[in-house]
């Protein structure tokens, strides 16, 4: 009863009307989209922003003196201020547009890492990272003779904080950790992780791709040095992301890529002078429409409020987990005390890919596989999991459809 009452305070039907894709039918069934950790869907204002920009004020940014270029530049830069407030940064020059969280992390590895790390230095990487927060460090380590040290996780899928404290040392220069694990749903204690890292003068790279649209994020409070996320996991488009970095770090970092917009002057006689942050890191014409759409996504999320979103999604997760656990032979992978709305599971005797295919026939979109987090699969000694991940536009009825489809899977395979 309690669950029902709390659900009713959130007007999910009205919200769903804003998302055109949610009225689609798949295999003659209503679409139940619970693959939000892979990519979220877009509300109308975000979709419309694309058309509006291209119909009314498309031009290159930071270049022309004409009206269109000025309007495009204003819209583009206004989003920087929105992003700043969205993650609680102190200065919009700390907000760098990238092509996504992956690009953001590569920027830090290639710019900060190559400039300031030396042979023998260590990078601590958690066992629950997405490949995006492993491979850039591994590439850097090979190039510079660095050591990657893995912070283990517990059977529940929580970071082993005792191990972390014993592994970190004066050799540690970077700690790479996600705010929320995409494979397990675990919410990591970033503030505490950062506090410990700073005692050893290490910087902390937080992969926030799974966090920003699901909970309030304040980078100043977290005191992290870098924070990365992608627009397409927070109602925005693909191909756009953000890197937040502390100003004093960004200022001393060399550019990552060369080209237009990141320079003040280029001369074959006197050489190249780089622009200031954030432009120093934004070579070439950026994804202008995508950034403007990201701005609309932030406004949309702010209208609903991330506290309400988090509360509602927690109810959904709790309900889905309770229902799922009633299914014979189902095991939840990732049972941390603090979780975002990710339900990763394995079903005895049925391969995740078969589950994914059968669910699709019921119109239910989940993810099956290793979720670009193979070390997590290794840790739990499973080849893959099935993963349902909920957004605030999902409903309790959709959870029921998902659970019933899972029961159908059992009927087919057992």
């Amino acid at each position: 009863m309690l669950i029902k009452e709390q659900f009713s305070t959130f007007d999910v039907d009205k919200i769903r009307d804003d998302f055109p894709i949610l009225s689609r039918r798949i295999n003659d069934k209503p679409l139940v989209y619970v693959d939000n950790a892979a990519s979220t869907q877009m509300p109308k204002p975000v979709i419309d922003a694309f058309s509006d920009y291209h119909s009314r004020y498309h031009a290159n940014v930071h270049r022309g003196v004409h009206t269109l270029s000025q309007e495009a530049t204003d819209a583009f830069e206004k989003v920087r201020t929105l992003v700043k407030s969205f993650i609680g940064a102190g200065d919009e020059n700390e907000i760098i547009y990238t092509s996504g969280a992956t690009d953001s992390i590569n920027l830090v590895a290639q710019s900060y890492g190559r400039a300031f790390l030396n042979e023998g230095d260590e990078i601590l990487v958690s066992n629950m990272e997405h490949h995006a927060n492993i491979v850039p460090w591994d590439m850097l380590a090979k190039e510079k003779g660095l050591k990657i040290v893995v912070i283990p996780i517990t059977d529940e899928g929580e970071l082993d904080m005792n191990a972390y404290e014993s592994l970190i040392s004066e050799k540690t220069r970077i700690v790479a950790i996600n705010h929320v694990s995409n494979a397990l749903g675990t919410i990591n204690p970033i503030k505490e992780i950062t506090r410990i890292a700073h005692q050893h003068n290490a910087v902390v790279m937080v992969d926030g791709a799974q966090a920003v649209s699901h909970m309030e994020v304040n980078v100043v409070d977290l005191d992290c040095d870098f924070y990365a996320f992608s627009a397409h996991k927070m109602l925005g488009p693909t191909g756009v992301g953000v890197l937040y970095g502390k100003r004093e770090l960004l200022d001393k970092m060399p550019p990552y890529r060369g080209g237009g917009d990141m320079i003040l002057s280029v001369s074959f006689n006197t050489g190249v002078t780089f622009n200031q942050v954030p432009h120093k890191f934004e070579a070439g014409t950026p994804g202008i429409a995508g950034v403007i759409m990201l701005g609309e996504a932030i406004k949309y999320i702010n209208t609903i409020g991330r506290d309400s979103i988090a509360a509602y999604e927690n109810e959904l997760l709790e309900y889905a987990t309770l229902q799922a656990l009633k299914i014979d032979g189902l095991r939840v992978i990732g049972t941390a005390k603090k979780k975002a709305s990710v339900l990763s599971f394995v079903l005895d005797g049925v391969h995740p890919h078969d589950i994914g295919t059968v669910l699709d026939f019921h119109g239910v979109a989940i993810r099956s596989g290793h979720h670009c987090a193979q070390p997590v699969m290794e840790r739990f000694q499973i080849p893959a999991t099935s993963r349902a991940s909920f957004a605030f536009y999902n409903t309790k009825e959709e959870v029921d459809i998902f659970i019933n489809a899972l029961k159908e899977v059992l009927e087919v395979f057992r």
Partner: protein, 147 residues
Amino acid sequence: MKQLYQELILDHNKKPRNFHVMEDFDHESLGHNPLCGDKLVVYIKIGEGDTIEDVSFVGEGCAISKASASMMTTALKGKTIQEAKVIYTQFHEMSTGKLDIAEHPHQLGKLAIFAGVRDLPARVKCATLAWHTLDAALEGRKSITTE
């Protein structure tokens, strides 16, 4: 869905035939689909006149890949290598939609049950993993990876 997950496939998934390690083999190969983590080993013993005297497999995979491997072994036992290669090619072409089995004659027999995977591009590699591994074994390659 019913079209793909038919009784025959479900039965071979539950009770895979020729599902064991072969000690006395002439060829073996390891097939790996890194996308889904499926791994299987195919063993082949060659008899007189270049026939496949025995073929078996072991490994982990989804229902489609396991049933496909199992039915492959029952279909190919006793066939010549040449015949097996023809069936391999036809199976591959059927799965990828290049061979319309309703229109063209083929030697696939019961294997035609896998025709439905052509409508599920994400699952084609599940159905063909065992076959690629068999082909690799016959060609003397120790392992293959599908991507």
